[in-house]
């Protein structure tokens, strides 16, 4: 089971080699939280198929977003992206993976789980059978009170589950790509492989080459870094990535497109396209302004 509890991750410790962790698809997780009136970056259950089942011991408001794993409560199917009332003894199960890789379950209140360095995200702590979690009430001052228009919910969901190209900003090793590789990266399809996890997504595609040896002095990498491995394949760094890396850094995927990468299933195809920082900032701001008024 690869299900975990995630919040927005840990900040301020990467200089000690401590990874950020956090939501893989932050937009779906944030959406789940606000739809149950939780603060936007509260911890949620991040689920992979086959996902854990949950049995509730008291009444709660819950919401499921992100991947569609055909959720059912007491065997009756329920809507995604919609707050749902559950009562004592209700059982939530996920029957079949239809779309996406990570589903998010938010429960109104705060999941009472271990906290380390101001985050409940742990890269190694997966949910275990028969785990019991207490849901603590939220402070009144923290309750998210804005209403989320259906059009915004729809736009978030369709932004994540669209096959549009993945946009990135060129990185320090971009100019070291051979001309042929540079054009292949921008025109050829790439595919996700079985080697996808919370640390990174290994892609299959044309083998890319550099005009110099693939040996760089280690430097900080980020979520969304496109690392070129010595065998010519691309690894996209994700939420549990190491803090620094010494492979060619070809570029970084922009924040608004990271949920789209996170939700790709094994074998999905993708294209890359170039963008710039101004555009990336504008796109990110547009979405965040929908959440934070």
């Amino acid at each position: 089971m690869a299900d975990t509890i995630q919040d927005k991750g840990r900040t301020g410790f990467q200089h000690l080699g401590i990874q950020a962790n956090g939501f893989m698809d932050y937009l779906s997780a944030q959406l789940a939280n606000v739809l149950v009136n939780n603060p936007i970056n509260y911890p949620v259950f991040e689920l992979c198929f086959p996902a854990s089942s949950f049995s509730f011991t008291s009444d709660h408001t819950i919401c499921i977003t992100g991947a569609n794993f055909s959720p059912v409560i007491n065997e009756k199917s329920i809507e995604l992206n919609t707050p749902i009332e559950v009562t004592k003894n209700d059982v939530l199960q996920f029957l079949k993976p239809i779309e996406g890789s990570f589903a998010y379950l938010a429960i109104q209140g705060k999941i009472n789980a271990p906290n380390w360095l101001a985050s409940q995200s742990f890269n190694a702590a997966t949910l275990q059978k028969d785990n019991v979690f207490e849901i603590l009430p939220i402070l009144e001052s923290e309750i998210y009170t804005h209403s989320i228009p259906p059009a915004f919910i729809h736009s978030i969901h369709s932004n994540i589950f669209t096959p549009a190209p993945i946009r990135f900003i060129p990185g320090p090793a971009w100019n070291d790509l051979t001309e042929e590789s540079l054009s292949q990266l921008l025109t050829q399809p790439f595919h996700t492989t079985l080697q996808t996890n919370r640390m990174g997504y290994l892609l299959k595609g044309p083998a890319l080459g550099l005009t110099k040896p693939n040996q760089y002095l280690s430097s900080a990498v980020t979520r969304g870094t496109l690392q070129l491995l010595p065998n010519g394949s691309i690894m996209i760094l994700m939420a549990d990535h190491q803090t620094i890396g010494g492979y060619a850094n070809l570029g970084q995927i922009i924040l608004v497109d990271l949920p789209r990468i996170a939700q790709l299933k094994n074998g999905s195809s993708l294209h890359f396209s170039l963008t710039n920082v101004n555009t990336a900032h504008q796109l990110y701001q547009q979405i965040q302004k929908g959440f934070i008024h």
């Binding site: 990467q14 000690l16 080699g17 990185g171 430097s219 980020t222 924040l255 710039n276 920082v277 900032h281």
Partner: protein
């Protein structure tokens, strides 16, 4: 977008790294001078961070210092863009007294290592490969004072260098599935200590009884970038004693 400028005293380059990080690069070759420059830039970044909470991380490495920032909180407070902001902050600080910026004291952290072969599992093969004795390897490893260039790979793992040419050995082609916490290794010009049990490819020459990483929030990593480290040899009895205490 690129804003490169040569400052009066230091060649620093400021570039975006994707949409939520800025990388400050120094052009000085790796040396004690480059280490001092990285330390000073970190100090200046930390100074800016104190009053600008949108800066989330300051991550030093060999020739770069990377700032990770929060896009939304930046634009709530500032009119310009993050790269221009950082560059301007540096320009105004460097006009003043950049060179006087204290890079911090340099005390040498002494690390006990037991080089017995039960721990130094690659010592024998290294000695054969480099055509020297195990004692010479230990002598060289404990003689140098190493600089901590950066931390990474796993929490608390410090990349230190430079290892003397006569004991430089490349890492194993395939990593071992398990290297024990405290294992001291060599990989080319670098030396380092595994903070926790983990897979690893470095050539293992000994083990320290010290805790290199402690998850307690007030302890965390034993080393930080810019520290100086020297190893000293201890026997098995001392190792056992220190492990127990």
């Amino acid at each position: 977008m690129q804003l490169n400028s040569t400052f009066k005293d230091l060649p620093l380059q400021f570039n975006y790294l994707g949409d939520h990080a800025i990388v400050i690069s120094i052009n000085t070759p790796i040396s004690s001078e480059s280490i001092q420059i990285v330390k000073k830039v970190v100090t200046l970044c930390a100074f800016i961070k104190k009053t600008h909470q949108w800066i989330k991380e300051i991550i030093p490495a060999y020739q770069t210092i990377t700032l990770v920032y929060d896009i939304h909180s930046f634009y709530q407070l500032e009119q310009t863009d993050p790269l221009i902001f950082i560059k301007n902050s540096f320009q105004s600080m460097m006009k003043e007294n950049f060179l006087e910026t204290e890079a911090g004291e340099n005390k040498v952290i002494k690390i006990p290592v037991c080089y017995d072969e039960i721990f130094g599992i690659d010592l024998a093969s290294m000695a054969t490969l480099k055509n020297i004795t195990k004692e010479e390897i230990i002598e060289s490893h404990t003689h140098e004072i190493y600089n901590v260039f950066c931390l990474g790979f796993m929490p608390g793992f410090a990349y230190m260098g430079n290892v003397n040419e006569k004991i430089q050995v490349a890492r194993h082609l395939a990593p071992r599935p398990k290297v024990f916490a405290g294992s001291v290794g060599i990989a080319g010009v670098q030396t380092g200590i595994y903070p926790t049990n983990s897979p690893g490819g470095w050539q293992i020459i000994g083990r320290t009884p010290l805790k290199i990483f402690d998850p307690h929030p007030e302890t965390l990593a034993l080393f930080k970038a810019g520290d100086q480290v020297q190893f000293y040899s201890i026997n098995r009895a001392t190792y056992d004693q220190m492990i127990q205490s």
